[in-house]
Amino acid sequence: MLRRIAIVEDDAAIRANYADALQRYGYEVSAYGERRNAMEAFRSRLPDLAIIDIGLGDDSEGGFALCRELRSLSPQVPIVFLSAHVSDFAVVSGLRLGADDYLTKGVSLPHLLARIAALFRRVDALAESKPVEERIVRGDMELDLKRFSAQWKGRRIELTLTEFWIVHSLARHPGHVKSRDQLMRDAELVVDDATVTSHVKRVRAKFVVADPAFDAIETAYGLGYRWKA
């Protein structure tokens, strides 16, 4: 069965390029340039995955509104934000609305495709009646590699796909230092060091909300990060 992906992006060239790449990969693509069109289409038929640009036409936060409406229609559909904004504020706002990941517009297509594939894998794993489990347990943390979810002391921590990959990369080998380069590769990203730093900071903040004494992610200054053994 062909998966259907919806792209909502106001720039025609990017929209067309992404649509071409996704189709070549084997997905069915519906591309929309405006929020109104996209919402109508969603109401009649939900996509299997949505890629939404935050700045749509005149409305610089139209993407957020669209995300909220889509989420209200379906809590499971994977939503990925795409935007020119890189500020932490934009990322955090986007993620609060329930998006699964946040990417900047410079992302390369192979990276985008890797994410989409992983998100579909997660959907499948969640939908299985008898869930096949593939778990990693490290101290108080439990990672479900099929569902791409994390639990700390039994409490579920909401992580985006990117963040999950970072945590997985660190926790796989506790005590080993992972450089930012390595974390980027594992998270299917090509960004600058500061972006990796802010991702790790956000991950820490999410764990700390669940457990104020959380300190499993240690910074090795000048080298990178490590999961406390």
Binding site: D88, T195, T219, Y221
Partner: protein, 537 residues
């Protein structure tokens, strides 16, 4: 150019006030001259009056030798000496009544402080009345005594004897005996007083039988002059002191206002181009207030321009992102689509260019994201020594593997063994150190070491990064930490240099309550970048 402050200038101007006492003194001198002239006239009038009383009385003026007054004898002797003894001996008898009559007339005409004598045709003194000395000289006031050493006061202590030449050489006497009234001023023999004298002939018929001489000291006028000058001096000093004090106070006030304004203007715009409003004198309704407002306006413009420049980088990066995404996604598609080998080369080249563009973009973003992040970042305590140690380990690994033009670098680190607590963000400190070390490595002479030192005293924590190499030109030393300022010459290959590294380092230093500055090493062998962070923010 030596400094010539406002107060000194006003002091010089105040010296012009000294013309007042000088003018007063001249005035007093004029008055004195006038009074002296008046005195001379009075003396002449008195002589005339006395002479008139003695006119046409020939018997009165015959010579008498009766009195043994020492004065008279002395005068006679002198006369004899001077005139060569022409004067013969005349009949020494004299009518006692005539004598008494002259004396009575003279007594009636007696005035305090003037001396009248009657001289006969042959220079014999016939009668003498009065005294040159004043009866009760006024006591010296304090001021007079004080003035004494400036202007010699008139004194009654003088020798009032008739000097040797007083009579004979007296022009006025001889002139009078020739028939013309005359006057003269002379010093006393000891020079301590000045005597004015007037002489008038005594006529009998149309022959001169004698002369009347009236003498008076000028002491009274001199003491008047003295008193006037004393009052003038005191008054002038008081006025001068008052005016000088007022001018000084005014000058100090203006000078202080200007200096306060100048200080505030200098500190009003900080290194980041942020402007605080000038408060000194901005509401004063004079030229200094205007100056303050002008400063505020100019500084405001400067601040707006700086803000515009700083926002430029972030605006540009935001705008560039979408076109970059277009190019990238097109190239990605091109890469994946079936294309002849020929186009593959061009695709790879385009991708290389794209990678460089992206790198530039991400560096530009780094600065603006840091600025945003700093405004909301939380501060916590951490050990700076651990951070620096860890970072240098990382540098040794990272730069040790560098190839090509960068020879393997040595890193020296000097960090206290005890923890160095700092309030701030450890990540940011590491980022700042990264930037400084990157800078040092780029400029270090090949094969030389880069030194990282951390030290702390009770007030601040000092982090130094030193490298050997060429010195820092003075001209760019202050602007080195501004956004987008680069002093490197173009290097082939390598990472494009935007001049943001030091700007970011400076932002982080300021976040930690400190400052960053660069200096040439003493001896000129290299450059040191020093960040001073406060221990308590």
């Amino acid at each position: 150019m030596t400094r010539f402050p406002l107060r000194a200038k006003l002091a010089l101007v105040a010296l012009a006030l000294l013309v007042l006492p000088w003018a007063g003194w001249r005035y007093v001198r004029e008055m004195e001259r006038f009074l002296l002239a008046a005195q001379a006239e009075t003396l002449a009038a008195t002589a005339r009056a006395v002479a008139t009383a003695l006119h046409e009385r020939p018997n009165l003026l015959a010579y008498r030798a009766r009195s043994e007054s020492g004065l008279r004898i002395e005068a006679e002797r002198e006369l004899q000496r001077l005139t060569g003894g022409v004067i013969g001996h005349e009949d020494p008898t004299r009518d006692a009544e005539a004598d008494a009559e002259i004396t009575a007339i003279l007594k009636g005409l007696e005035r305090a402080s003037s001396r009248i004598w009657v001289v006969s045709r042959d220079y014999h003194v016939l009668a003498l009345a009065g005294s040159l000395k004043r009866p009760d000289p006024a006591p010296d006031s304090i001021a007079e005594r004080a003035l004494g050493w400036l202007l010699a006061p008139p004194t009654e202590d003088f020798d009032d004897a008739i000097a040797e030449d007083a009579i004979a050489a007296g022009r006025e006497v001889s002139a009078a005996l020739q028939g013309a009234a005359s006057a003269r001023t002379r010093n006393t023999r000891d020079g301590r007083a000045v005597v004015a004298s007037a002489a008038h002939p005594i006529w009998v018929g149309d022959q001169v039988h004698g002369a009347v001489v009236v003498e008076e000291t000028t002491n009274r006028i001199a003491s008047l002059r003295s008193q006037a000058l004393e009052r003038l001096l005191v008054a002038t000093l008081v006025v001068f002191a008052l005016v000088a004090a007022m001018l000084l106070w005014f000058a100090t006030r203006i000078s202080n206002r200007i200096r306060r304004l100048s200080d505030e203007a200098e500190t009003a715009i900080d290194a980041r181009g942020r402007v605080t409003r000038l408060t000194t004198a901005s509401d004063a309704a004079d030229e200094i207030g205007d100056l303050s407002l002008s400063f505020t306006t100019v500084l405001g413009r400067l601040a707006r321009y700086n803000t515009y420049l700083e926002a430029l980088a972030s605006r540009l990066s935001h705008e560039l992102r979408t076109p970059l995404a277009v190019v990238r996604s097109s190239l990605d598609n091109l890469h994946a689509a079936r294309t002849p080998d020929e186009t593959r080369t061009y695709v790879s080249r385009a991708e290389e260019g794209l990678a460089r563009l992206s790198s530039i973009l991400s560096r530009m973003t780094e600065a603006s994201r840091l600025e945003q992040g700093l405004s909301t970042a939380a501060r916590e305590r951490f050990d700076a020594a651990a951070v620096v140690r860890g970072c240098v380990e990382g540098y040794r690994l990272a730069y040790g593997k560098a190839q090509g033009a960068l020879a393997p670098r040595g890193f020296e680190v000097s960090v206290p063994a005890a923890p160095v607590p700092v309030l701030g963000a450890a990540d940011l400190l590491a980022q700042m150190l990264d930037k400084l070390v990157e800078n040092a490595v780029d400029f270090a002479a090949s094969g030389s070491k880069v030194r990282v030192l951390l030290a702390s005293n009770e007030h601040e924590v000092v982090l130094r990064v030193e490298n050997e190499g060429s010195a820092l030109p003075d001209s760019i030393r202050d602007s080195l930490f501004d956004s987008m300022v680069s002093v490197r010459s173009e290097q082939s290959g390598g990472v494009p240099h935007l001049g943001l590294g030091l700007y970011i380092a400076r932002l982080i230093a300021e976040f930690h309550g400190g400052a960053l500055h660069a200096e040439n090493l003493p001896g000129g062998g290299g450059v040191v970048f020093e960040a001073r962070l406060s221990r308590t923010v």
